[in-house]
Amino acid sequence: MIQVLSKEFNSFLNSLIAYVVMGVFLTAVGLLVWVFPETSVLDYGYADMDTLFSFGPYIFIFLVPAITMRSFAEEKKAGTMELLMTKPLTDWDILLGKFLASFLLVLLALVPTLIYYVSIYQLGNPVGNIDTAGVAGSYIGLTLLGSVFCAIGILASSLTRNQIVAFIVAAFLCFLFFSGFESLASLSVWSSYTLQIKQLGMLYHYDSLSKGLIDSRDVIYFLSVIFLLLSGTKLILGSRQW
C-alpha cells in the first residue's frame, strides 16, 4: 500500500497536477477571504474564517475530482492496471494507496490556510478574539469532507476509462452528497422526512462540526460514507469487468 501511495504522490508532485491544484485552491480562497469586498474578512467586522469554510467545499467539488479522475481511468486506458493487478498487491493496497495519495494532496493544499488563522487571530480586537474551537471543528469537517470527495472521485474513476467522464460523475456526486440532499429535503413532497433526508447529506454534518462541537455521530457519518464508497470501489475492481 505504501509503495502505491508514494508512487502516486510522487507522480502528483512530478506532474503539474499538485501545483495547479494548490495554486488554484489558494488563489481562489485567498481572493475570497482577503480581497473581494463581498466576502472579505477585513470588511466583515467579525474575526472569523467563515468565508474559507463556506466556499472551501465548493472549490473542492471541482478540484478533488480533478485530482482523482486519472487514478484508475488512466491505468485502465494505458493497460497498466494489468501490471498492478498481477503484482503482489491486494485490491485494497491499490485502492487505499490511491485514495490516501489524493487525500494527502488535499491536506497539502489546506495546510497553508492555517496562516489565515494566525493572521485573523492577530487582527482581532482584542488580539485572539476568534472562535478557536469553531475553527478547529471546521478544519476537521473540511478535512473529512475532502476525504469523502476523494473517495467519491476514486469510485468514479474506477467506473470508466475516460477521465472526463470520471471527472463529471465525481463532481456531480460530490455536489449531490454535499448539498444536494439539503436541497432535496426542501421539496414539499416529503416534508415529514425533511430532517432524515438532510442527515443523509454532508452539509448537515459539516455545519454541525463547524460549530466547534466534535460529535462522534458526525465523525462516524463521514467515516462510514468513506468506507462504503471505498468498498464499492473494491467491488468494481474485484469484478474485473470495466
Binding site: S11, S15, T86, R240
Partner: protein, 308 residues
Amino acid sequence: MSLQIKGLTKLYDQQRAVNNISVEIGKGEIVGFLGPNGAGKSTTMKIATGYIPPTEGQVIVGGFDVVETPMQVKMITGYLPEHNPLYLDLFVHEYLYFVGKVYGWKGDRLKSRVGEVVEMCGLTREQNKKIEALSKGYRQRVGLAQALIHDPAVLILDEPTSGLDPNQLVEIRKLISEVSKNKTVIFSTHIMQEVHALCDRVVVINKGEIVADDSLESLLKRNKTNSVVVEFSSPLSVALLASLPGVKDVQNTASSTYRIISEDHVDIRPEVFRLAADRNLSLVGLKQEESSLESIFQSLTNETVVQH
C-alpha cells in the same frame, strides 16, 4: 518451479475463449505458446498470473493455486503483459525501484538488484531517461526488466517480440534466452521462427483448444511431406513421371517444373535421376521439399498466417 494448467476454461459471456486445456510445464523448461491472434493465449496467461479468474479448472504455479493463494503465485512470477504497458511518466530506474518495492525488496539489496537488471537488459545508458523517451525496443527491455526484478522462478511473457524491427527482434530473443536460464518460462507468439530460436517445446493453441503439444522437431517430422520438385530443361509429359514406381501424384507447377508426391518412406529422387539419364533429359533441378514452419502452423491452426 513448475506450472500446471488443469482443465482450464474461460467463458466471456457465451464465448469460449479457452476450452478445457491442460498443460504441464516442468521446472526450468522453456515453452512456446503458439497460436493465431485470438486463440486464447493471452487469456490463459492472464489467468495464470491472477489477473482474471478462470471459469473452470485451475492453474498451479510452484505448488500454489492461483485462485486460492494469488499472493504467493504473484511473488514467484514475473509477467510481461501483451502490448507491454508502462508508466511513461516515470524514469527507468524509478520505475524499477517501484516494482522492486512492490515485491518487498528494499535498501541495498534492491539497489544492487536494480543495477544488475539494468545491466542484464542493456539499459545502462537509458536508465536515467523517462520511459516515454525510449524506443519500442528499449521499452520492451524495460518491460522485461520489471518482470525480472524480483528474480522470479516463473516467467510469463505475452508476445514479447511483437512489433519490433528485425534487429530488435534478434536482441530481445537473445535477451530472453539469456535471462531464462534456471527459470520456467512460458512465452506466447504467433511466429514459428520465434519458437525455433528460443526453445524446443511448443504448445499450439487454436480457438481455445490445444491442437499440438510437442517438440518442434517431432512436429516437423510429423508433418513431413514426401514431395520433390524437379526441373528439366524442356517440358515432358506428366504421365511419364507418374509412371515411376511409388509416385502418388505429379503436378506441373511451372512450364518444365514438376512437383512429385511419393508414397511414405519412398525416396523418389534416384528414380527421377535414372529416368532423366535413360531418356537423355537434362535435369537442372532436384530438391526435396521440407515442410516449412509456416505450413505446419497453417495446417495446425487452419488459418492463413502472416509471413514475417
